[in-house]
């Protein structure tokens, strides 16, 4: 009998091993991730630069709410939350026993301090308006946060899940830009300027099962062929963001690697100055929309990777409304509209393309050819990034341009007539206002949908495609996010199959 029990025991102990090892994540190992842009400092609460979020957000720092790999809002430092029926009062129930990497405890007072700091006068936060909507912050106890908003804000939860709203320690926050301290699964270790950022496992992470990796290194390599050479030579394990699409097919053929082509939140648009002639004419903009064959743009510019869009909303984000059918490729209709607008023979215009983005340069060339077919002769001007920000973005000195808008939920830029494409529509502002004040999901869907419809119908910009979340990695790497529904490269649940 004893022997039988022992036998059963051994069976229980040994038997699951083979299939467990195939499916269960294993701890250990280090990961080197290649990204193109080195972040300008490491403090996501002092910049809207997406390069910062891609390194630190969800790895070193966390907010009350997280975005998971499917784009859903899930508990971060708050285990749960709810809103009052009128949408003005939010209760956040905070995770207990959480400490920052420097040992400071996280609690309701710390959360309150963080929210107040971001809303304060003279704050360095790039989005103080996210926090200024809060009228009153109460802390009934150490683990409860009661926020009363000035007005209903449908995007409040969205904003609390962005990098701008991460929680910093009250004592160790001053040096965040150079040596960040957070509550995340990884602790900041070292920033080798011009080369890499290193982080190591946080042994005291609030989820004791995570993370799996011992060490994560972000390495900054700008040149796309150098990126691929580094992957093939084994210097990096993954190219995490903006892998050159023309090189992806070649890597996919190599058995040592796999390529993910998921969805991101970055809409590439042909920005159009709605205030200058002839682009202030809606018919001209609609004619251009008909003249652009978006799938061909994707094929030629992105080697076929990417998703067609018809408005300013990523298909991975909730309340998406498919507007891709509004302006199908139709040269006949495009020419008719051009004639109706008073330009039967077309006109000349200039498109300014930011040199740092290969997709923008290439898309500009393809678009110039397509618009040439309805008589619009485009002069291509490739400009340096600082120049683009100053002349195109700030001074609005442009006719057409090309750029990816990385943030999700950013359709509100169309409500600002001073934004660089200078779209001025009361109808849109009303719809957006209603969307922001919508008390429930059905209403939100209705009004955010309407917003997408209006900008598509007005052909405010040339809506081209959603940048693919193209990444290439070693086949043994598991748990990497296929889609990037938020601006982050969350390594919490990434592991090596041995």
């Amino acid at each position: 009998m004893k022997r039988f029990v022992f036998f059963i025991l051994m069976l229980v102990l040994i038997a699951p091993a083979p299939w467990v090892s195939a499916a269960t994540p294993q701890k250990g190992g280090s990961l080197t991730i290649c990204v193109g842009d080195e972040p300008p400092g490491l403090d996501p609460t002092a910049s809207a630069s997406s390069a910062i979020d891609r390194v630190v957000y969800a790895n070193i720092m966390e907010g009350l709410i997280k975005v998971d790999r499917n784009g859903q809002f899930v508990p971060g430092l708050a285990t749960s939350w709810n809103a009052s029926p009128d949408g003005k009062v939010y209760m956040f129930y905070l995770r207990q026993g959480v400490t920052f990497h420097n040992g400071e405890p996280f609690n309701a007072q710390v959360a309150k301090w963080n929210l107040e700091r971001s809303a304060a006068q003279g704050t360095k936060n790039a989005h103080p308006e996210f926090f200024r909507v809060i009228e009153k912050i109460e802390t009934p106890d150490d683990n409860t946060l009661k926020l009363t908003l000035k007005v209903v804000d449908a995007l409040f939860i969205v904003h609390m899940a962005e990098g701008d709203a991460v929680m910093l320690p009250m004592k160790g926050f001053e040096n965040t830009a150079a040596a960040p301290i957070g509550t995340g699964p990884f602790k900041f270790a070292k920033w080798n300027r011009g080369d890499s950022v290193e982080m190591v496992r946080n042994e005291n992470y609030w989820n004791p099962r995570l993370p799996y990796l011992d060490k994560v290194t972000y390495r900054f390599i700008k040149d796309v062929s150098a990126q691929v050479a580094a992957l093939k030579a084994g210097d990096v394990d993954i190219i995490g963001w903006l892998l050159a699409p023309e090189l992806a097919a070649d890597i996919a053929k190599d058995k040592r690697f796999k390529v993910f082509a998921g969805a991101s939140t970055s809409e590439v648009i042909m920005s159009t100055n709605n205030k200058v002639k002839p682009f202030n004419n809606k018919l001209v903009r609609q004619a251009m929309a008909y003249a652009i064959d978006r799938q061909t743009v994707i094929d030629l510019v992105m080697s076929g990777y990417g998703t067609v869009i018809g408005s300013h909303w990523p298909p991975v984000t909730p309340y998406y409304k498919d507007m891709t059918g509004r302006f199908p490729h139709d040269l006949k209709k495009a020419k008719e509209l051009m004639a109706k607008a008073g330009y039967p023979n077309g006109f000349e215009a200039t498109i300014k393309l930011p040199a740092i983005y290969a997709y923008a340069r290439r898309a500009g060339e393809v678009i110039a050819d397509m618009l040439g077919q309805i008589g619009i002769k485009l002069k291509i001007e490739v400009v340096e990034w600082g120049y683009w920000l100053d002349r195109v973005f700030k001074q609005k000195d442009f006719e057409l341009s090309m750029i990816g808008h990385a943030e999700a939920w950013d359709i509100g830029i169309y409500a600002n007539p001073n934004y660089y494409f200078q779209y001025d529509s009361q109808e849109f502002r009303d719809a957006y206002d209603k969307a922001l004040k919508a008390p429930n999901k059905a209403e939100k869907a209705k009004w955010f949908g309407r917003c997408q419809e209006i900008v598509a119908e007005d052909a405010v910009n040339g809506f081209l495609f959603l940048t693919p979340a193209l990444s290439a990695m070693k086949v043994e790497l598991m748990g990497w996010w296929q889609d990037y529904p938020t601006i982050a490269m969350d390594c919490t649940a990434v592991w090596w199959k041995k």
Binding site: N125, A126, L389
Partner: protein, 314 residues
């Protein structure tokens, strides 16, 4: 000799002053707001203004210039906007990569150029000379970055002998660091070697026709002694001049190769800093590079006297 030093020093100070004015004015009128680049395109006007004030960008032209020069004269380093650390430390860190790489590249260049240049001169218009000259043409026509990519494909991707780039750091891994610099230094060296080979050859040919060489031969000295001891020393003067220029250029101009091999060197630092409008870094590095070129040329001047005692520094 003292007068010579004083003259050189005055030149250096004057030059740095002119460079500082030029760099500062150019960066001042250059479109592109550092605050906007840091904060991203969706930042509010308020946060932009706050950051601008913090960086001192709201001051006048003169105010910003005196801020910069004043601090430099006091030996105080500015903070890099992008990297949040003192610019001096950044320059020192990147110089630890670019400096050895430039020296290594010159070493490669010399190791190739001297023997082949001398060989070509001694076998003028023979098959060996023609071959060497053809190779230098090829070397001159090859762009650095292309050679860099080819070397990576062969030695890193195919053979796996070297990593494709990156730099482990001297203190963590000395031999690994040295190894990391070999391919880029070679790519840089080959082009320079082509120039130096041609120069060594023509300079050597000239010297070999001189009277004192004929005298040396007439004395019955061995051909080896004539070429390597008597002729080479004089032939090296023009070669050294060009080498000095090349070394100065290498310290300043390895941007492309550093990008191909993603080395955290001076070239990549200044390149990124311009793109990011990290103005304190750009200004200090340009000033440093100007000073480096002057100092290297000064050192070259000193070696003239050593090589050819007839030359006096005055």
């Amino acid at each position: 000799m003292l007068r010579y030093f004083a003259k050189k020093l005055i030149t250096l100070v004057l030059l740095l002053f002119l460079v500082s004015i030029t760099v500062f004015s150019v960066l001042f009128v250059l479109p592109g707001d550092p605050a906007q680049i840091i904060l991203g395109i969706n930042a509010t006007p308020e946060s932009l203004a706050n950051l601008r004030a913090e960086l001192g960008l709201d001051k006048s032209f003169m105010g910003q210039y005196t801020d910069w020069i004043g601090n430099l004269l006091l030996g105080r380093s500015h903070q890099s906007i992008h990297y949040k650390m003192p610019v001096f430390d950044l320059i020192l860190g990147s110089l630890a990569v670019t400096g050895p790489m430039a020296l290594l590249a010159m070493l490669f260049a010399l190791a190739i150029a001297l023997p082949s240049g001398i060989y070509a001169a001694r076998h003028q218009n023979q098959a060996g000379d023609v071959t060497v000259m053809f190779c230098t043409q090829l070397g001159l026509a090859t762009p650095e970055f292309w050679l860099g990519i080819l070397l990576t494909l062969l030695f890193s991707v195919q053979l796996g002998w070297f990593s494709a780039g990156g730099f482990p750091g001297w203190s963590t891994d000395f031999w690994g660091s040295l190894k990391a610099l070999l391919l880029p230094a070679f790519a840089l060296g080959v082009i320079r070697a082509s120039i130096l080979t041609r120069l060594t050859r023509s300079s050597m040919l000239e010297v070999l026709r001189e009277d004192y060489v004929r005298t040396a031969r007439a004395k019955g000295l061995k051909e080896r002694t004539v070429v390597y001891v008597h002729a080479l020393r004089n032939a090296l003067v023009p070669v050294l001049t060009i080498m000095g220029l090349q070394l100065g250029q290498l310290l300043a101009g390895t941007i492309i190769i550093e990008n191909v091999y993603f080395l955290p060197g001076l070239g990549r630092l200044v390149f990124n800093a311009i793109g990011q409008r990290d103005l304190p870094v750009v200004r200090d590095i340009v000033l440093f590079m100007a000073a480096a070129v002057v100092v290297v040329n000064f050192l070259v001047d000193l070696t003239y006297a050593f090589l050819d005692p007839r030359i006096r520094l005055e």
